[in-house]
């Protein structure tokens, strides 16, 4: 019998970890969670821009922990810079629940064709497109599970790219929206577009100890004070704790997975609150540190059996990192164009729009781009309500830096005479050889461990699709009266939407994980954050990360039950 104290040890506590923590604790297994960040509780979250976005108190200090980012300059030459020097970082949320505490929670399912991108649309030169080793049908029950357990609100309306569902609708009714939501629907109709409600990982009715969304005004980037937002902490970990089977160790930064001579992991090593090295044993280990840090941890875990990092004898760990492709645009609706009544409704502190255009998830009516190609999702939104980003928009007129009375006039006009509406585009970030994670040879973190080096290359095809979708979005923006429309579709990745790096697949030579997200080369190592995704679909990833993690949880329970049955017979 194993003398390990824990059945399962999970590294990280965000979206990829939550379903494993929840399901395994509920199934009666002893679960240990090692989370690098502090344990912030619901009562610790306020709508403080200083904490959340100005001084970034939810993410590590760059002098302590950083990355090296490799990018191409305008002449096409690669150069590398430490994020400590550039100040732009790749951290998203370091605390119990991870970035899922701070997400906006736009929840879109992948479509069946996303699972067989290569077979459906063929290869693209320079892109490492593959089919997934599972089908939509295999994941569908788990999307449904996420909708019920984590809580997804919305309304299913038919549209030409609607994915098959086993339930007719979302379990939670749609959230209240700003009047501009109706204008977007109408604006779409004028173009013959079918704009439909977008689902959110936010509950609109009470669930267990969680309260519904009370429209707090600041959502994305801020923690939720009613637990309405489907963070892994509020929706899953808090319930797992009630079982008595789950232990959370915050402030525990894992730096090595140690293997025995059979190649199985025997223990993990971490730095505790006082930076002392500690280790812990378990039967099974799950890593879910968000794609970049997951790859880094595996690469850092070197041994005689795995000289290039654990699970990396085939050299695939860190390869094919992806982001959500696409971009965004925005335009202003000026209040003087509106009736008094519409103005009051539009200007109310109700920021949700929750409308989406999925007609172009597949593009088959743009011969200039080809006969049929994969498109993407267009979400319509209002700009975030917190004031600092709005102020930044008022800082310049053209290229002129404003100050004095001119600045004050511009601020007053921006805040009180208009509101900016936005669109966000999600298309595939095609996996390429130029987007990956490795270890930097020279830059170290505060524990003297090598930091992750992230190469940020993109495929030009992403921009072609992104711009096509932006053109469609802008037609609708114009129809709702938006002026001064700008567009930002480029190769800069959205650093909050990260996946890939430990692809799953059936071929142990070309993938890191098998179809159940177990490392091909290590019998007791699983990876359940977005790292497993070989392609990301044309949606933000978290709904799929959650669903897949529930799927893997079932496999783990099956495996652990089988082991304990065998042990009891033996």
């Amino acid at each position: 019998m194993s003398n390990a104290k824990y059945d399962i040890c999970i590294v990280g506590s965000g979206a990829g970890a939550g379903p494993i923590i929840y399901e395994l604790s509920k199934a009666g297994f002893k679960v240990l969670v090692l989370e690098k960040g502090p344990w912030l509780k619901t009562k610790d979250f306020t709508k403080d821009e200083m904490t959340a976005t100005r001084r970034d108190a939810y993410t590590p200090h760059l002098k302590d922990e950083r990355h090296v980012v490799e990018k191409k300059d305008s002449k096409g030459k690669w150069y590398a810079q430490s994020t400590e020097d550039t100040g732009s970082d790749l951290w998203n949320g370091s605390c119990v629940g991870g970035s899922s505490n701070f997400m906006s929670a736009y929840f879109h399912r992948l479509k069946p064709k996303d699972f067989r991108l290569k077979s459906e649309y063929g290869p693209i030169e320079g892109a490492n497109i593959v089919d997934w080793p599972i089908t939509y049908d295999e994941l569908e029950p788990y999307y449904t599970k996420v909708e019920e357990i984590i809580g997804v609100s919305g309304k299913v309306l038919p549209h030409k790219n609607l994915e098959p569902r086993s339930t007719p609708d979302y379990p939670y009714p749609p959230l209240k929206t700003n009047i501009v939501a109706d204008w977007f629907v109408e604006g779409g109709k004028k173009e013959g577009f079918n704009i439909v409600p977008a689902a959110r990982g936010i509950i609109s009715e009470p669930k267990d100890k969680r309260q519904p969304c009370y429209h707090s005004n600041y959502c994305g980037s801020f923690g939720c004070s009613s637990d309405a937002k489907a963070s892994s902490r509020a929706a899953l970990i808090n319930i797992a704790l009630d079982t008595g089977n789950c232990e959370i160790r915050p402030d525990s930064k894992v730096f090595k997975l140690e293997n025995d001579s059979t190649g199985n992991i025997s223990k993990v090593w971490y730095y505790d609150f006082n930076d002392m090295k500690q280790s812990v044993e378990a039967d099974i280990f799950v890593v879910a540190c968000q794609a970049i840090e997951t790859a880094r941890l595996l690469l850092m875990s070197k041994s005689d059996e795995f000289p290039n990092g654990i699970g990396n004898n085939n050299g695939q760990v860190g390869k094919n990192l992806i982001f959500a492709g696409g971009g965004a645009g925005s335009g202003s609706i000026r209040f003087d164009q509106l009736s008094t009544e519409d103005r009051a409704k539009f200007d109310a502190p109700l920021t949700f729009v929750n409308q989406t255009l999925l007609d172009f998830y597949e593009i088959d009516n743009a011969p200039e781009l080809g006969e049929r190609l994969k498109g993407g999702t267009i979400d319509f939104l209002i700009e975030h309500a917190n004031p600092m980003p709005k102020a930044f928009r008022s800082k310049y007129k053209g290229n002129t830096l404003l100050y004095g009375s001119a600045l004050k006039e511009n601020l007053k006009d921006y805040f009180t005479e208009q509101k900016r509406v936005r669109y966000e585009i999600f298309c595939d970030w095609l996996p390429t050889d130029n987007c990956n994670v490795s270890l930097d040879e020279t830059v170290k973190d505060k524990w003297n461990d090598p930091v992750g080096k992230v190469k940020l290359g993109y495929h030009e095809h992403d921009l072609i699709v992104g711009n096509y979708l932006a053109e469609q979005a802008e037609k609708v923006m114009k129809n709702v009266g938006a002026i001064d429309i700008n567009r930002s579709i480029n190769g800069n990745p959205p650093t909050n939407l990260i996946a890939g790096g430990c692809r799953f697949g059936n071929d142990p030579e070309t993938t890191v994980l098998d179809k159940n997200c177990k490392a091909h080369e290590v019998n007791n190592l699983y990876v359940t954050d977005g790292s497993f995704m070989p392609t990301g679909g044309s949606v933000p990833h978290t709904f799929t990360i959650y669903a897949n993690s529930f799927r893997v949880a079932d496999k783990l329970i099956e495996r652990l039950r089988m082991t304990s049955d065998l042990e009891s017979i033996g």
């Binding site: 403080d48 904490t51 004070s225 830096l401 004050k408």
Partner: protein, 207 residues
């Protein structure tokens, strides 16, 4: 490097605390306990302007003067003084939990720089340039790369003073929010949940 003593106005000369090189203090982290000093930053701007632990007398005068050029009392909403921008700046630039320490140093260096330029070009301290000529002087400064970067950094901090929660010393009596019809998010931060408290948790500093 400008010698403080040489150019400090006579009136200020006698106040010995102002002779201290505050940046050394800053770097030594002696002001880490911002929490204990917060009343100072929020309460009385006038007192702060004449005596604070962060800037010397001359820098204080340059800061005050610059803020009122960048965010004047022009009848359109609150002025820098109305929102206690000075108090906010003093808090912000002594905050050694800020990930971007160099931004704080840059603000202070810029105060010295702008005054040095005033002496070079106008043969007087920046704050002694007649009020109706100060904007034109800043216009000139902004034409330089350094000046544009510095004024831009000043405006960013001014935005914070105008729009962040009054808890941090600016946005006095919510004047910034009221002027811009802004509805804050709820719940608002409290003294117990100030950013420093959360940041120390992130940085694993015992508190």
């Amino acid at each position: 490097m400008i010698d403080d003593k040489e150019i400090a106005p006579d009136l200020l000369d006698s106040i010995s605390t102002w002779q201290v090189n505050r940046r050394k203090l800053l770097k030594a982290g002696l002001l880490a306990g911002a929490m204990t000093q917060i009343n100072l930053f929020t309460s009385c701007s006038t007192e702060l302007k004449s005596n604070n632990d962060v800037l010397n007398a001359q820098q204080s005068l340059v800061l005050e003067t610059t803020l009122n050029v960048l965010f004047p009392d022009d009848g359109n909403g609150p002025s820098a003084d109305d929102i206690n921008a000075f108090g906010y700046f003093i808090w912000a630039i002594q905050d050694d939990l800020n990930r971007k320490q160099e931004a704080n140093t840059f603000i202070i260096d810029g105060l010295d720089w702008v005054n040095k330029k005033a002496i070079q070009l106008k043969q007087t301290n920046f704050y002694s340039i007649p009020a109706n000529h100060r904007t034109a002087f800043i216009d000139e400064m902004v034409k330089t790369k350094y000046g544009k970067k510095w004024v831009s950094a000043m405006v960013t901090l001014l935005f914070e003073a105008l729009l962040l929660d009054p808890l941090y010393g600016g946005n006095k009596e919510e004047k910034g929010w009221k002027w811009l019809n802004h509805t804050p998010g709820f719940p608002r931060p409290t003294e117990e949940l100030r950013y420093e408290v959360l940041m120390k948790k992130q940085l694993k500093i015992k508190q």
